[in-house]
């Protein structure tokens, strides 16, 4: 199973800042291993963020996102205590959902 994300969601004034760390190999499909074999592509394709039950970010990603991806977003209209749910799905169908609370 995929490793947990680390999600930080914090109010700064009336803006909620959401930082997400994901644990993923993000293989491009172009790298060769020590034995010279191509390592198959394995990368996150879809990322969604829901805050307070509403979809705020709907993203798609390709192979050029760095290994162990890091993303930052901002939103208005959130408040401390709102639940943040982040979800990703990769090209092999692996997925992960984690949540945090806006602080």
């Amino acid at each position: 199973m995929a490793d947990p994300m680390k999600i930080r969601a914090q109010m700064k004034g009336d803006v909620a800042e959401i930082r997400i760390l994901m644990s993923h190999a993000m293989e491009t499909g172009q790298r060769k291993d020590a034995a010279g074999n191509t390592v198959p592509a394995h990368f996150i394709q879809s990322i969604t963020i829901d805050v307070g039950g509403k979809r705020v970010v709907d993203g798609q990603t390709g192979t050029a996102i760095s290994r162990n991806p890091v993303f930052g977003f901002k939103m208005k209209g959130a408040k401390a205590g709102d639940k943040v749910v982040v979800n990703w799905v990769d090209n092999k169908g692996d997925k992960r959902t984690d949540e945090a609370t806006v602080a």
Binding site: R8, I49, V57, G59, G62, A64, D90, N91, D98, E99
Partner: protein, 158 residues
């Protein structure tokens, strides 16, 4: 203290299929969100920027100074290049990041709704010195901004 709380919450994170189903049933997630079926294959597998833009429907994107793209002039490491995009164009609903000289140009695309500000920070891979591009959609129009980022050799050269 705040960090520890966050950590505990993450550790309780719903990682299992069961928990995921529970979220779907609770209406937190739309079932479609759990699958990457709507991944824009044409755009993401395009080899060059023009083809990727076409895949995004953004072939006619116009340059805009209100689209702010922050990337380093010189990347410390091409494996992890920080990119920030902020759109000051009214009614921006999505932002895409592209790298001209990567094997596939499109890195990511994000759509914003329900209060999300039209900005994103991400870290991307760059195989070589290249123009980095940001594309924003506002209404039914597309806007573009670009900046060069140099990728260098470093370390002990091994």
């Amino acid at each position: 203290m705040e960090m520890n709380q966050t950590r505990r919450i993450v550790l309780r994170g719903a990682g299992s299929i069961g928990a995921l189903s529970a979220l779907i049933m609770a209406g937190v997630l739309k079932p479609t969100a759990a699958y990457a079926a709507d991944w824009n294959k044409a755009a993401f597998e395009a080899k060059d920027t023009p083809a990727a833009l076409k895949g995004l429907g953004a072939a006619s994107a116009a340059e805009s100074k209100d689209l702010v793209l922050k990337v380093p002039d010189i990347a410390e490491n091409g494996a992890v290049v920080p990119v920030d995009v902020i759109s000051n164009i009214p009614n921006t609903t999505s932002i895409a990041i592209l790298v001209d000289k990567n094997p596939t140009a499109l890195s990511a695309q994000f759509s914003f709704a329900n209060g999300a500000l039209p900005e994103v920070s991400a870290r991307i891979k760059m195989g070589q010195t290249s123009l980095v591009k940001a594309v924003a959609k506002a209404g039914d129009k597309f806007y573009i901004a670009q900046k060069e980022c140099k990728v260098t050799v470093g370390g002990c050269g091994g």
